[in-house]
Every structure is written in C-alpha cells, then in structure tokens.
C-alpha cells in the first residue's frame, strides 16, 4: 500500500488549513501516557526509558507555533490530565500551566514514582495545594515489581496540611511506599475531601484517630483497600456507604485477629448495612472465616473470590438463601470443590450465575452444564492462569 501514497510532503500552510476542531481532536490523544501503560512502539517512551527522556507532548505542541499555541490554549479539556513523573517532568510551572489552562474544569493528577526514592518538590506541592479546589483525582503509583518510596520535606508537608478542602472524587495509592510526612499529608487531604467517592489503597495505611472527622469518607462508594484499613475505618465509626469493595489481606487480618473474641471484631459488630452490592476478596481464606464476613453483607449481588481456595463448605452454606439472599453472580478462581457441590448450589439458587476458573475438583461436565443451561462459564486449571482484576 505504501507505494500508492503520494510522496510529496505537506506544507506548513497545508497543515494549518486543517480545521481547528480536527487539530483539537488530535490533541485530545496527546496527554502523556504512564510509562507502564506505554505501547513501547518505535518513538514512544519504552518502559525502560530514562525518565529524563519522557516529554510532555501536549506542552511541546503548544510551544511550536502561534497557531498551535492558540488551539491548545483554547481547549481546556486538553489540560485536565496531568502526569508528574519522578524523576523527570516535575516542574512547578508546568503544573501551574495545567491548572490555569484547564479553566473551570477539574484536573486529574497522576504522580508516577519511577525510581527507588524520590522527593516531591516543595514547588510542586505548593502548586497542588493552591489548586486543591480543582484537584478532582489524585493517583500516586509506582512499578509493582519494585515499589519505590515517595518522600516530602517538612515544609512541603506543612503546606499540604494547610489545605482546608479539596474537590477530590477519587484517591489512589498503588505500589508506592510513602514517608511519614507524606502519609500524614495525604491522610489530611483525604479527611478534608468531602466529595470522595473512590478510594484505592493497596498498602497498609493506619489512620491516626486524631485526624479522623465524622463526616470524612461520607460519599465513598467504591474502594480497594486492605482489610486492616477497612477494620480501622469501621472501628473509628466511619461507615462509608460502600457499594463496591475489593478487599485484600483478609486472610492475614483474620489470622491476626483470631485471639480476639468475635464481638471485638469490627467486621462483626459494625456491619456494612445495606449498601454493599459488589465484593471482591483477594486472599487465601478458610471458608469458616469467609462466612463470618459475608453474614454482615446481606445485599451483595456480585461476589468474586480470587485465590480464596473456597471449598465445598462455602458452596453448601451459600445454598441456603439466608446467606447472601440477593446473590446473582458468583465468581471463583482457584477454588477447591467438586462438580456436585456446584450443582447443589446452582440447583438451590435458580437465578444464580457462576464463573469457575482453575477450580480443583471440577470437571468439564460442570462447564458443559453451565454452557448448556446458560448459567455461567468454566475454565480448566491446566490453562495458563491470568487473573482478571
């Protein structure tokens, strides 16, 4: 096909004649993609690139000529996603540009920590703090294979802790260890974020009770957290109206709490009420402890158990409509139960759909039955295991 295309180059004037809305459409594809999600194609930043090589293409375009500068500056939506890469691209003036050019729109900030130990500069922190009323999404993340550490000096932490309110709707901290100053500052941001709807914390983060206010997390509907953190929230009287919850480390938590009497367990005497609809549990956990938890989540419609090694006891209990009466979809990966257990559950609950992947003890008979009846899917354990998270 290449030989069919004219070789004559387009001229500057020819390019500039393209309608403004087409250029703006092109520019909407420019916001910096995170290195981990980069395609790695030819000229793009490969995963192993030095952070210094990473360039903010949108800002580059705005610095090429007057026409492009006017086009990019006239389109606030282009400036609503800001990536701060550490090291590299940390300039406070660049952060300021994004907040100013985004006009009245909210800005999503992604802080990507690429190296072992990085400090978020005071200038960047000051700029972020000054524009907290426009900061709608904050995500701090690092490479999962070697979680780095994010540092912040005392002055920067102090500046961040002076923030009185934010527009944060989602907050995410993934695969990054943070220093004590960072932790306190980020917790402070959380606690003054009255609009927070989504929380994703995959590191143990203990909440200092003194910082907790009664109305914080009041709008939180989606969360990915460790069991320890959730227990702390519940213990402190914070009962966010969660609708979707992904829980990590429940097995470790339960074993840690085993010596305690059941009535002392926050999971048991501070139930979720009727809000929780979707639950994903990611951990190895004996069936009996899973019941204890599920007994207090009566409105769950979608239950996913990843690597829980759930067995026949769980399926037997689920056959009783008193446990999770609203359950519509059960997804189990790495379970240990037989075809008969599954058939028993599916016959007892007519409307239930089941997805079983890599479950020991099940055979293709179950898979064929599920497909024939339109009740779900089954996958053999011998297939390569790729968790869908």
């Amino acid at each position: 096909m290449q030989h069919l295309v004219p070789n004559r180059p387009m001229t500057n004037g020819h390019l500039l004649r393209l309608p403004a809305e087409i250029w703006q459409h092109i520019f909407t594809f420019l916001p910096l993609s995170l290195p981990a999600f980069s395609t790695g194609a030819d000229h793009r930043t490969p995963l192993t690139a030095r952070p210094r090589d990473v360039i903010d293409t949108l800002l580059s375009v705005s610095c090429t000529c007057r026409h492009f500068r006017a086009l990019t500056y006239a389109c606030p939506i282009l400036w609503t996603s800001l990536h701060i890469l550490l090291p590299g691209l940390p300039s406070a003036s660049r952060v300021e540009r994004y907040f100013l050019l985004s006009g009245s729109l909210g800005v999503a900030v992604h802080i990507c920590v690429l190296d072992a130990q990085q400090e978020l500069s005071e200038g960047v922190v000051s700029t972020l703090a000054a524009h907290c009323d426009k900061l709608t999404h904050l995500r701090v993340l690092g490479p999962s294979w070697a979680p780095p550490r994010l540092e912040m000096n005392g002055r920067a932490a102090f500046i961040l802790q002076q923030v009185r309110s934010t527009a944060l709707r989602s907050f995410s901290l993934q695969d990054v260890a943070i220093c004590v100053r960072c932790r306190h500052s980020l917790l402070h941001l959380l606690l003054v974020s009255m609009e927070l709807e989504q929380l994703h914390l995959d590191i143990p983060l203990l909440l200092p009770p003194i910082l907790v206010s009664a109305n914080a997390l009041g709008k939180l509907t989606r969360a990915v957290v460790s069991a320890h953190l959730l227990a702390e929230l519940l213990m402190l009287g914070l009962q966010p109206p969660l609708e979707e919850l992904e829980l990590h480390g429940l097995g470790i938590y339960v074993r840690y709490r085993l010596p305690l009497a059941p009535e002392d367990d926050p999971f048991l005497h501070v139930p979720f009420g009727g809000s929780l609809r979707t639950l994903r549990v990611v951990d190895t956990l004996p069936d009996e402890y899973l019941f204890r938890f599920l007994a207090h989540t009566p409105c769950i419609e979608d239950l996913t158990l990843l690597a829980c090694q759930s067995g026949s006891t769980l399926l037997e209990h689920l056959s009783s409509p008193s446990l999770l009466p609203s359950l519509r979809h059960l997804r189990i990966e790495w379970g240990t139960f037989s075809d008969e257990d599954a058939f028993g559950l599916l016959r007892a609950r007519g409307g239930l759909k089941m997805t079983a992947r890599g479950c020991w003890g099940t055979t293709k008979i179950l898979g064929e039955w599920l497909a024939r009846e339109g009740r779900g899917t089954w996958e053999d354990i011998s297939r390569p295991m790729t968790w869908t998270s």
Partner: protein
C-alpha cells in the same frame, strides 16, 4: 448491488454497497434522493460518483478500511485512554504524510471512524517529541515573537529544555 467511485484522476473503483455505506458522502449521494423507498440512485454501474478531492492512491487505501469495517462498527469516539484494535494501528501506520492525507480525505468523505483513527495516528507520531522535533516533522516554522518567547519562559521554564534537551 455495486457503486462506482471515481477518483480525482478519473480512476474507477467498483465497490459493494456495504463498503460504500461506510463513506458518508457516497451514502448520502447514492441513497439520499430515494432513501425511503430503498432504491439507490446509482444502481447502474455505468453511473459513478466523482470524488474530486481524493486521489486514487488515498481512495484505494480508504477502501481497504471500508472493506474491513463493512460488517463491523468502528470506534467513532475516543480520548487518550482508548485502545484501538491492532488492525487499525497497523493500517494507519506511522507515516505522517500518509496519515494526513487519509485524515483530510476522511474528513471530506464523512467517515468518522477513519477520521478518529487518523487523529490517533497523528497523535502517536507526535508523541514523545519536543517542539523542535514536531516542527521538523510537520514543517512548521516557529513564529513566536520575542515577547511571546519571553512570556513562555516566564510561564513555563520548562520550555527551553523542551527546545534544547541536552
């Protein structure tokens, strides 16, 4: 039923209805007059629709895309987070000139899916380039006044580094 498309140079391309349906201009031209009766105006192969602004080479490339999407719905809306199918990315390639011609033609012919893909293709080629690199690629002359350069330095100290990364 098939329709004949005539390129700028006068070359004729005989295409089937599902392929022609992907091209908004052709669809409107061929069926617009008698749409409600379901008859095409250009039912006779001897009749053709002239696409005066599209060269043969670009039209043939566009028809490859239309042929691929004759039974599928292409993406017609997206942003930086959207993942395009592998076939699309391979089709559009990284040749800036070629993509720009396809983009112009897609705009002229009213093919929203191809227009979006071409926008994504151009953005991918621009991605990771500093201002100097973008100017060289697109043949753009930096036409900032001295005052504007001073302003840019004030508002964005990063700019100089962009121009001359050492």
């Amino acid at each position: 039923m098939s329709i004949t498309l005539i390129s700028k140079e006068g070359a004729q391309f005989l295409v089937s209805k599902p392929v022609a349906d992907r091209i908004g201009v052709v669809r409107d031209c061929a069926y617009g007059a008698d749409f409600w009766l379901g008859y095409a105006v250009a039912t006779d192969d001897s009749m053709g629709i002239t696409l005066a602004n599209v060269t043969s080479s670009i039209l043939s490339k566009i028809l490859v895309w239309c042929e691929h999407y004759k039974d599928m719905e292409p993406l017609v809306d997206g942003d930086s987070n959207m993942e395009f199918p592998e076939w699309d990315m391979a089709y559009i390639g990284h040749d800036m000139n070629q993509i720009l011609f396809v983009l112009e033609a897609a705009d002229y012919l009213h093919i929203p899916g191809l227009l979006l893909l071409a926008c994504k293709g151009i953005a991918d080629v621009l991605d990771g380039r500093n201002p100097r690199g973008i100017c060289d690629l697109l043949g753009i002359v930096m036409d900032f006044s001295h005052r504007q350069e001073v302003d840019m330095d004030k508002e964005n100290g990063y700019w100089r580094w962009f121009l001359h990364p050492t």
